[in-house]
Symmetry: C2
Subunit: 313 residues, 2 copies
């Protein structure tokens, strides 16, 4: 029974001092932090499209990922996560057990990031599993990291390393919330985006939004060991670098910063105060699109690669 | 192309002074109203379960309803709507046209209720249409209408009339946001719920949450003309009253108020200041469940009727 499951959920959602009215009512009531803006993002994951349930992807992993991708969006805004609401369409048969396990995965990540579970909507149908997570965060006024704020002369940085996420990191997503908070506290960021569809594609999006272009230093791109592993697999025709540039679902952050700020951030990275690798991978230029510098110093266009979602007219 | 559709959407979302960062970034940034709580609710509608696309239910109606049911939840909290984010899973074939028409229906209702469209997530898949709307509202601290606040001695009121919503009102939902604001401004409400699954079932939920029972005055229940029409249809074995008590999707508000407040609210209802019919339909008592009073004055149990969502273990 859906009602029993909802009652189970309401009992299993931890209480949180930010909730004036917790889950279980027509809506939740949050105490928003004083003098901060509200940041809101929603992501929907669909079975068969975003994940395939099975031994490699148990329901707990779906709950984890559904929350993680929304938290990554908050991190990409330099926002602190506050609360989430979760809507699910569960298959009628076996839906209750599925729902409990999704909640378990989601709640564990919520606890790790101190996010209040404020409520949701639980539905049953004769269709595949759909999970939609709306995450609410906060940021001081005027301090959100927009994607359209990159300036000519800025340096581009990326957290961590990219490529080969399909080997497991696309599910075990570690949203860069704490790292974003550490950076936001100490350094001025002009623009940011998270790497969801592909490092080069997401950089191209930031550049297009900012009305700028970028020269990437391909030798500097941090390549994840998974990208090397994938590249060596039978039938794989792409180099580790190509995987890093185009695989996506890395959920690392790309940041645009003034050169002196970028240098200071890189110098501070890896310390206890800023426990995240930061690498300078390019420069923002007055142009349109992405480029690489050839041996003779000339700029050659780089076609952005990544996951483009198909939708027929 | 999904990207082109998203770009179309971002162009067609009206700008709003409440948005510091509008749709199109990793997340939206809202300026929350000063000294108010944040109210948040999510509802997911699935094709084939909540609606069947066709001549009687065009995509615009789905967009309208998806927003309307979330706004109704805000009204049931006594909250003022502020902003929404919308996640959709569109069928790959024909999804772009479908998405535009859903947006058209949703945006028209958003404009009518002065709700900012803050962003969303657009997806394509080989599955049925799924729409998830998260609505964000605001309410003064401590003033949200909870469903667990009914007190013994309170009177129960309902806005409008119930029953027969399947004849069209289940799609053309008119959320009682303005009416809720008018009531909240002038009268103290102890508890509220919106009639989604059935008048008697939703009252029973309010009573269960409040640890109280209710005696309903069946002769006072406002019966919608659609309930009479449905009752007369061939094969329909239920009375207009039974339709009113159990059909659901009326999206009227049930309110619990102290007797003198309830009387004042009814006296004020239908005036320009409070342009909504209000009817007293029962009393909150120290008991568990719903009751009606028999001719001899004794209380007889009333089994709540309504839509129960099925979900097998």
């Amino acid at each position: 029974m859906e009602r029993e499951f909802v009652e189970w959920l309401v009992r299993h959602v931890p209480s949180d001092p930010r909730l004036e009215v917790p889950a279980g009512d027509d809506a939740a009531v949050l105490r928003p932090p004083a003098s901060r803006r509200t940041v809101v993002t929603v992501d929907m994951l669909m079975e068969g499209t975003d994940f395939v349930l099975g031994p490699d992807c148990p329901p707990e992993a779906v709950g984890h990922k559904a929350l993680a991708v929304s938290l990554s969006d908050l991190a990409a805004m330099g926002a602190r996560p506050e609360a989430v609401v979760v809507a699910v369409a569960l298959p009628s048969r076996g839906g209750e057990s599925l729902g409990r396990r999704i909640h378990t995965g989601l709640a564990a990540l919520a606890a790790r990031h101190d996010v209040a579970i404020a409520g949701g909507d639980t539905n049953a149908w004769d269709g595949p599993l759909v999970v939609s997570v709306t995450a609410i965060g906060s940021v001081p006024p005027g301090r959100a990291w927009r994607r359209d704020g990159a300036r000519v002369g800025d340096r581009l940085l990326v957290t961590g390393a990219c490529g080969g996420s399909l080997l497991g990191r696309h599910l075990a997503v570690a949203p860069r919330c704490r790292e974003a908070a550490g950076i936001a506290e100490r350094f001025q960021v002009h623009a940011a985006i998270d790497v969801s569809d592909g490092l080069s594609l997401d950089i191209a999006r930031m550049m297009a939004a900012s009305g700028t272009g970028a020269v990437l230093d391909l030798g500097a791109i941090p390549i994840h060991p998974d990208a090397v592993t994938m590249s060596r697999q039978a039938g794989d025709s792409r180099s580790p670098l190509e995987h890093a540039l185009g695989d996506g679902e890395d959920f690392e952050l790309v940041l645009a910063m003034a050169p002196e700020v970028a240098a200071a951030a890189v110098a501070a990275s890896g310390t206890e105060a800023l426990d995240v690798p930061l690498t300078i991978i390019g420069d923002v230029i007055e142009a349109s699109g992405l480029f690489v510098r050839e041996h003779d110093g000339a700029l050659a266009p780089l076609v952005p690669r990544g996951f483009l979602h198909a939708l027929d007219g």
